[in-house]
Symmetry: C2
Subunit: 149 residues, 2 copies
Amino acid sequence: MNNDAHLKLENQLCFRLYSLTKLMNRHYSPVLKKLGLTYSQYLVMLVLWENNDTTPAISVKQLGEKLDLDSGTLSPLLKRLEKQALLSRVRNSDDERSVVIKLTDSGCQLKSQAQNIPAQMFSVTGLSIDELQGLNVQLDGLLATMNTK
Amino acid sequence: MNNDAHLKLENQLCFRLYSLTKLMNRHYSPVLKKLGLTYSQYLVMLVLWENNDTTPAISVKQLGEKLDLDSGTLSPLLKRLEKQALLSRVRNSDDERSVVIKLTDSGCQLKSQAQNIPAQMFSVTGLSIDELQGLNVQLDGLLATMNTK
DNA sequence: TTAATTTAAGTTGTGCACAATTTAATTTTG
DNA sequence: CAAAATTAAATTGTGCACAACTTAAATTAA
């Protein structure tokens, strides 16, 4: 491939990732709209649902580490979820710098409405279980490499 | 896997795509900043550079089809690139609904500064050529499937 | 050939994502 | 201990991405 070929859109992995992420979002949007959530808000709820049994309180900082997002993104997003009464935001009395996020009852209850979303989205991919897992492994490798460079 | 496992972040392909796209963007940003471009602006320039020899004029509509973006995204983006004198926006006299985008001389010249970006980004992935091509094929399949459902 | 429909851009408003900065609290260090 | 450094959130500003809508031009159909 010459230099010009590298600059062509069709040869670029990153454009595929970019397009696929947008497409993924378009499939999620109508489904999540029924729960009143955006995709990013859904990710926050996934973390909270996942930890609710063992660790029902999590700081904004910890949430940011799990989702790779900073307070500039999370602060307004969490305020919107608080306004929807899905979670509470309270300063940690042990360390007033930190804000503790907890699910409310209705935030907990929303989980049942989300149970079938992963299966629904999986069917949209048209992949087999093996193909999905193979892709997950490859993308994990890529994430690991790109996170350390 | 039970229902709860499906709702875990670590099991979700979409979260990997989402994280990887953000990570990709973070690697591009400092490189593209030297050219005064964002990633989306870079994509527009790629299309214009690619077509400049054969088709030096392209409509906003055609650009949107290539990049899968609508006028709501492209109109302001193209105005910013016009303000940077990288391209011109002129109404098509044959069809006044359409706006024709053309590279300016400095827009053409910027191409040389972008020549080494693909190789630079490829090295960040840590992939072999074969691995890259394999991944491209898989993502193309996924894009095709998800575009028709 | 006028009226109805379609099309192309642009505009407005919402919600990320992130850089850069600010504020306040905590920790470290001289 | 007090000053300096670090840390956690929040704020401000920019630029997407997209839904919903508007405007103006072109096409189609009555």
